[in-house]
């Protein structure tokens, strides 16, 4: 019993110092000399305990492929008081569009992105790379050897995704009746921006 408690304590310490980098099950197993199965069971028990304890302000989340300690969502209000201006951080519409295209079509060149959007996209791509959300992942074959873009680990972290497969499926076939949905879409937009 004691050993199980000790393992939880150890895991909490390790996750605490790793911060937003987090640790995988494998790494945790290695660092604590335990089996991965033992780590799985313990992590699960910890996740449940964190969630249930109302006096706890942190919990474990799987983000960007690792387990990380994060603050509970319910405490966002008081933490936001620590933040200078919470709204300025969000991405612009252009950046979000480019990012969506890169996320679903990676690896992809700038020209291909511009073809889909129908507008020049150099600036949003530049902004996204500076923010560490996309990066060069290679060069296209053929003349020019254009840069191929892909998303980064920071991208997963930024959107709270476990891995790239956790992205919601791309709306595939837009049928006639789906056009009505776009009303919904516009309404949502308005809500978001007016709200």
């Amino acid at each position: 019993m004691n050993s199980k408690m000790k393992l939880m304590s150890n895991i909490e310490s390790l996750l605490f110092v790793s911060g937003e980098d987090g640790l995988t099950k494998k790494q945790l197993a290695f660092l604590t000399n335990e089996t991965e199965e033992q780590i799985s069971v313990t992590l699960e028990a910890m996740m449940e305990a964190y969630e249930k304890s109302e006096d706890r302000g942190i919990e474990i989340k799987q983000l960007a492929g690792t387990f990380q300690l994060v603050t509970k969502q319910g405490n966002a209000n008081s933490i936001q008081k620590l933040v200078e201006n919470p709204t300025t951080q969000s991405l612009s519409q252009a950046s979000l569009e480019v990012l969506a295209i890169i996320a679903y079509k990676q690896p992809i060149t700038r020209v291909e992105i511009e073809e889909i959007r129908g507008v020049k996209s150099e600036r949003p791509i530049h902004t996204l790379s500076l923010k560490g959300l996309v990066k060069e992942v290679g060069r296209a074959d053929g003349t020019g050897r254009a840069i191929l873009y892909g998303t980064t680990t920071e991208f997963l972290q930024y959107f709270g995704l476990q891995d790239i497969r956790a992205l919601p499926p791309l709306p595939e076939d837009i049928s006639v009746d789906e056009m009505e949905d776009s009303d919904l879409f516009l309404t949502k937009f308005q809500e978001t921006f007016e709200g």
């Binding site: 620590l82 979000l96 569009e97």
Partner: protein
């Protein structure tokens, strides 16, 4: 006529077209070219002022729309129809545009879900990893651990800005509190007690707040003068250690400082 186009509201000509299609309640697979072209032109005219290079994209689309419209007015040649027997829609001049619009719409919607995910993600916070380099030996430090590039460096910088943003309001709004030397002397003593009477000088300064640093420093000097603490150093340039010399002095200490 001048081609000054105000386009901030739309992410390009495709975005504008989608907006019009939606507003006119047109079926995307059966776009009424005359109507949409007229509306599109009207919008482009109504928009004012923007960089020429973006305006050109709107104008290219205008030309495309006009060309589709005119093609649709032409009668379909009999021979062509025979050849393309297998593909019924091949002759619809709108096809390419429709495909483009549908493709673009997918990503526009995906961008909306990304935005929602961004909002949800903003409700919880992580912390930067602890700097553990002091636990490392120098040999290890000299190794290149990773294949880092300029963007990793910028990413690190970005993270730092985020972290700093977290603490900024406290520095301006809250931390202006005046800490007295007396209070800080007490705090130093209690901190030392908690650490078995010995602590590195460095650890007595956990904050970057200048007032606190100065006050803490003055309070340590005062404590040294009163021989309540002692500072020692084993070798040149080693860490300084602060030692608590008297164990129980709370009571005498209280009135002494009040003078």
């Amino acid at each position: 006529m001048s081609y000054e186009v105000k386009t901030e509201a739309f992410e390009g000509p495709l975005d504008l077209l989608l907006h019009l299609i939606n507003r006119l309640e047109i079926d995307i697979y059966d776009i009424k070219m005359a109507e949409i072209t007229a509306q599109y032109m009207e919008h482009v005219h109504a928009m004012s002022v923007l960089e020429l290079n973006e305006a050109s994209e709107y104008l290219v689309m205008a030309a495309t729309l006009l060309s589709i419209k005119s093609k649709m007015l032409l009668p379909i040649h009999q021979d062509d129809e025979m050849e393309d027997d297998f593909d019924i829609n091949v002759n619809d001049p709108r096809d390419e545009l429709v495909l483009k619009l549908i493709e673009y719409k997918k990503y526009k919607e995906a961008a909306v879900s990304l935005q929602e995910m961004e909002e949800t993600r903003n409700l919880f916070y992580t912390r930067p990893p602890t700097d553990l380099s002091e636990l490392q030996n120098s040999k290890q430090l000299a190794l290149f651990e990773h294949d880092v590039n300029v963007y990793d460096m910028l990413g690190a910088f970005q993270k730092m800005l985020r972290r700093k943003q977290l603490n900024a309001p406290l520095h301006t709004r809250v931390s202006k509190q005046e800490i007295s030397i007396k209070d800080q002397m007490k705090s130093v003593i209690s901190t030392l007690k908690q650490n078995k009477g010995r602590l590195s000088f460095y650890e007595l300064f956990p904050t970057r707040d200048k007032t606190t640093i100065v006050t803490t420093f003055l309070s340590i000097l005062e404590l040294m003068k009163r021989q309540i603490v002692q500072v020692e150093q084993n070798n040149n340039f080693d860490d300084l250690f602060v030692l608590l010399r008297k164990e129980d002095l709370e009571s005498e200490f209280e009135d002494e400082i009040d003078e």
